[in-house]
């Protein structure tokens, strides 16, 4: 394994890491999807997770947002272990992590405003959330978020009537409303054409300003354009981790090579 510029110098080393992965192994049954992963992300970093299919990129992101719990090792968010047995505290932590998915994962037969308002669920009590389905709450916040992603007039459209690119922007508007410290994106552009991909990437990096951004990407040129740090995953292990400028083409070729 190659380690280059593990934590970039220009990012203040004194600041607390936003995300810390320590000795994490994750197994599906008897097969290890990830082995001994160590990763530290500092505030404001933009990190691309790259690597061949099946390398464990999605699994790593699921561990980072608490969908999965590591078999061994710990994931800490803002200095606090994510695997908190107290559901209330765990949810408060999850509120600090926003996730954008490849397939958007929106509730398709809800109106756009409710999908955007889902970003408020960590803050709203259940009765306010329920009432909002009848009488939408937080309209102004939702409208502003939609305006920022370029969909100001879709507030009351049915989500499944929108195109793929528009749905991905609704998912980003949800994240804007959630306003987390950390932004995860799992293949956010692999279902979009190149023009829409650039739009979404610009939005993600814009919205992610001041936030820590980590996204898995298949398209290397997007990773190199929009991110400053590359983490290469291969067969469940970190293959390299360093600044975009420090990763050589040979390392990239090695990362994606077919034979073991």
């Amino acid at each position: 394994m190659l380690r280059l510029n593990r934590s970039p110098d220009r990012l203040a080393k004194s600041s607390e890491p936003h995300l810390q992965v320590q000795g994490v192994t994750y197994c599906y049954g008897n097969t290890a999807a990830l082995t001994d992963i160590n990763l530290t992300l500092y505030p404001g970093e933009r990190v691309a997770l790259i690597g061949p299919s099946g390398a464990g990129k999605s699994t790593l992101l699921k561990l980072l947002n608490g969908t999965l719990t590591p078999t061994t090792g710990t994931v800490s968010v803002l200095g606090v272990p994510l695997a908190d047995p107290n559901p209330r505290r765990r949810r408060a932590l999850q509120q600090q992590i926003g996730t954008v998915y490849q397939q958007f994962h929106l509730v398709e037969n809800l109106r756009v405003i409710h999908n955007v308002n889902a970003g408020q669920l960590g803050r709203w009590p259940w009765y306010q959330a329920l009432w909002s389905l009848v009488w939408p709450q937080g309209i102004e916040t939702a409208r502003q978020a939609l305006a920022r992603v370029g969909l100001p007039d879709k507030l009351y459209s049915r989500t499944d009537r929108l195109s793929g690119g528009e749905q991905q922007r609704v998912a980003i508007a949800r994240i804007l409303v959630q306003d987390p410290a950390i932004l995860l994106a799992d293949e956010p552009i692999s279902n979009l054409d190149p023009a829409r991909s650039h739009e979404v990437m610009t939005l993600l990096t814009h919205c992610g300003q001041g936030k820590t951004l980590i996204m898995s990407l298949h398209a290397l040129e997007f990773a190199q354009t929009y991110c400053e740090r590359l983490v290469g995953l291969r067969e469940g292990k970190i293959f390299f981790d360093g600044l975009v400028t420090a990763i050589t083409p040979q390392q990239i070729t090695q990362l994606y090579r077919l034979e073991p």
Binding site: R91, Q94, T99, H105, A118
Partner: protein, 256 residues
Amino acid sequence: MKFPLPDWVRPVGIWSGVVLLYVWASWGLNLDLDLISASWPYMVDFVSRLFPPDLTVLDIAWRALIETIQMSLWGTTLGAVLSLPVALASARNLAPTWLVLPANLLQNAIRSVPSIVLGLFFVAATGLGAPAGTLALGIYSIGYLAKFYQEAFESVDARSLESLRVTGASWLQVAQYGVLPQVLSLVSGYTLYMFEYNIRAASVLGIVGAGGIGFELVNYIRSFEYPKATTMMLVLLVVVTVIDGISSRLRRQLEK
């Protein structure tokens, strides 16, 4: 080592199995073709005595019918309300595993009790009349609605639930924003269908004295006043057809 069977073995095996199953089932029926042909005149006689319908009892039919609809409305609503928690507890994707098995067992237990037995039970408890029928319909509906609801819950897109959960939403909020909108039209459709079905079921419950049009129907048949019974059945036919039309239109609206 497995050796390959010729292609024809599987279909021939399956079809022989099906034929054997039907032969076996026919043993239980004691089919007697002579008896069936000899019984024709009795059937014709029974049907001919049903006509013409005696419309003088139309007002009685109406009143009984309204009672049947009222029973069905409350019975279905009661069943729907009770089915929701049972279905939630039975859904594999929403409930913890230790709850799924007992909840499914409860559903099966309710489903295996015939409506008429429930009718007898509640007639014994609350006396003859509509309250017994309503309660019987309510419990009877759980057996079916809980199953329908459970299947609707299980067909919910798991990925959209996950994306809500990771925002820090609670279980209840995931249910509100993820499950409810995705099942609402299916669940309302099933409930409407159950309401329709219960109008017919309510007429059967009349046999054990649990109120409604079935009660009048059975009384007329018992006292050999067949033309009057025919009126009851005709009124029921009209109402079932009308309600079927309305509810299928409503269900189509819901699916949009």
